[in-house]
Symmetry: none
Subunit: 228 residues, 4 copies
Amino acid sequence: MAGKREQNREQNRQALIGAVLDSVAEKGISETSVSEIIQRAGLSRGMIHLHFGGKDNLVQAAAHHSSEEYYDGLEALLQTAGDSPQERIEMIVRGDLSERVLNRRNVNIWYAFRGESRNRTAIAEHSDTRDGRLRGMIHNAFSRIVREAGTPDASGAARDATHGTLALLEGMWTDFLLHPDRFDREEAARIIFRFLAAMFPAHFSLKGAVQPQQEKGAAPAAPAASDS
Amino acid sequence: MAGKREQNREQNRQALIGAVLDSVAEKGISETSVSEIIQRAGLSRGMIHLHFGGKDNLVQAAAHHSSEEYYDGLEALLQTAGDSPQERIEMIVRGDLSERVLNRRNVNIWYAFRGESRNRTAIAEHSDTRDGRLRGMIHNAFSRIVREAGTPDASGAARDATHGTLALLEGMWTDFLLHPDRFDREEAARIIFRFLAAMFPAHFSLKGAVQPQQEKGAAPAAPAASDS
Amino acid sequence: MAGKREQNREQNRQALIGAVLDSVAEKGISETSVSEIIQRAGLSRGMIHLHFGGKDNLVQAAAHHSSEEYYDGLEALLQTAGDSPQERIEMIVRGDLSERVLNRRNVNIWYAFRGESRNRTAIAEHSDTRDGRLRGMIHNAFSRIVREAGTPDASGAARDATHGTLALLEGMWTDFLLHPDRFDREEAARIIFRFLAAMFPAHFSLKGAVQPQQEKGAAPAAPAASDS
Amino acid sequence: MAGKREQNREQNRQALIGAVLDSVAEKGISETSVSEIIQRAGLSRGMIHLHFGGKDNLVQAAAHHSSEEYYDGLEALLQTAGDSPQERIEMIVRGDLSERVLNRRNVNIWYAFRGESRNRTAIAEHSDTRDGRLRGMIHNAFSRIVREAGTPDASGAARDATHGTLALLEGMWTDFLLHPDRFDREEAARIIFRFLAAMFPAHFSLKGAVQPQQEKGAAPAAPAASDS
DNA sequence: GATGAATGAGTTTTCATTCAT
DNA sequence: GATGAATGAAAACTCATTCAT
């Protein structure tokens, strides 16, 4: 079979990336050695250089992959969101705080990569464009809300709401990082919606539920905005 | 002089800690080698093991020192704050976003140490109590504000405001970490106060200035709340 | 060839062990550094940790090897010995004092490893069983001699002869260690046989030659009993 | 007081030597570092170089001291021995196997120093003369025994008995070194006397007791011949 | 004389990378 | 292509010695 080799090749690449991410999450970047990686992946030493040309590239690829996965989930989530701006924002917030996205592994990985400047630039570089798209979507939603609220957005309320919401989510991630045991997803969501409800009382309720419209059903299954 | 030697000893310890922090800020933890440290400190190799018993301990001590410095500055700042809860909160927010606290060096250090769980737990051990104290002070301020606002705090508004404010600050630090060039302190403060103004319109203005009272004068010169 | 690499691997392991033994014999344990070892072996630094996981393990392996070699030679020697108990004992004594076994290198190595309890216990662990076996063989021989002598062994003559013979050999090794120049193998053998001749006059002569039987021909070519 | 300083000086020298011997006995030579020594001695770092001019010299001095002590005890013991040659030999044998001389500390020290050729030669230099003297005394005793036995010593029986006895003692020390737990002083003495009884039945009994004469009373209190 | 902080040469160890098989 | 033994530069650490106090 022709594609068998190619398929195996991709399988090995993914195994290595997965091994890096597992190790980074469990042991941290500085203890993620080549030996650690190949042991987790169950592959040979040479594989890393064969497929990625070196450890650094592999780690970059893993960082890239992790970020990619995050944003992909996020955009998929938005596809399923309702039309109302409140729904879209709630979906992002709830998604970003969901077990599937906000868990020890992801948080450790995310902060580990951010912690080392070398990788930081690489991650930042590629995630900025995509992050911009997400930011744009949230901003659109808030713009609509502001418009619906009838007040002119001269003072940049939509932009500030966007920035603030993303900052709040970041802050919640940090909470989780530092105290995964005592972190309470419901509380985190409630706080964010409390802030939003204060700014847009007609659109968000204290409960964090979208106010006037009916609930859209399905719980969010994937991540939401993080990188600012 | 008698204490000259003892004094010198302490000086060297501090020099080593400073060198670690400089290196971590500039190069990241994984490139902070013993050679790098002693070169920056202008001291001898053996010194690290003499005073700290190994590189790891030195790095931990540096993390500890950094955290301590942060909380010290923060608490000092609160000593100078006015009596009104608004003033106290504003001082923390503005302090935490001030050049003196929120700068590339500090942010890099802070995130570098958080990036690896080993350092994270080591910092957590001693910083949680101090963080709790700070959090308590902010919570007190918001409680007074809620009380003054006349609404019963059945729904935990004070607690949520505390949590939310700290999360927002965290989010702003992350903003700074990822985009130190385009970060705008004024904007960051404005957004936070916009959220607070929405929740407590009688106490916070959109400008981020304390509403009714006269300004307390001097702008904050030191750090404020971060660790959740 | 298929096994070429595996073969080379084992070759290198052996080269390292040999280098350790050479160095220990010539310079002593404390001057047997990693640099010294790899220089003698003509191999790379990393090899030691690759094959043995550290210098300490390598040194232990060398001690093990040395001990093993000694007992192997000894047991091989006994295979070639005649049937009479005198012959067997003489072979052990002469073998243990032979140039091939009792030489500067071996003695230095033997005492160097014994000098530090760490190595001592490590050797003891595996050599005690073999030593016991050897001791058993000597004891058998003496038992037969005692029986042939017609006296009942109520007083433990065979056991004491065994213990005493081994102690004498040990003592001769120490002689050699301290004065390799003036050590006289013939004299050493003569003294041992003088003691044995005194105890078992019908079986051992002053000359150290087996008394009644004809000589078995070949001179012993390998080591004999030492470890108590 | 004038001699106070001088007295203290000597006290410190002895403390250092004692610390070295303790450490060598417990940890072995290679783990006997300057730090270890001064900690045990409770003295300052500089002391070693002040009094001995360096660690090596101190270790040499300790080896010398240990050897000195051994021979001193031995010679003192002989002063108390009776006149008969049997008594003198028995005193040396029993002394050399006594708890006071043959104990874990001494054996470890003795073998540790022997294990490293550097120390070996240094000890040898000074102990050879004394060892020669001891050897001479034993030889004298055996010569008298041989003479009393009436056989001409053409075949060097006295010399061989001397050499053999010392070798047996050495062998017993090695026994003790390797298996201090199961070592049996009585058995060791019995074996040596069994050999001697076989050679000189008129002078030594199987029990290891001097044959014809009455026992001399006092148990031996100090060491006996070792260094060959 | 005594102290112990400081030094830096030398030691062990780690680890990304290479390359013969 | 895949493997894992081999490499050696660079890392962390040890430790006898020095010397200002």
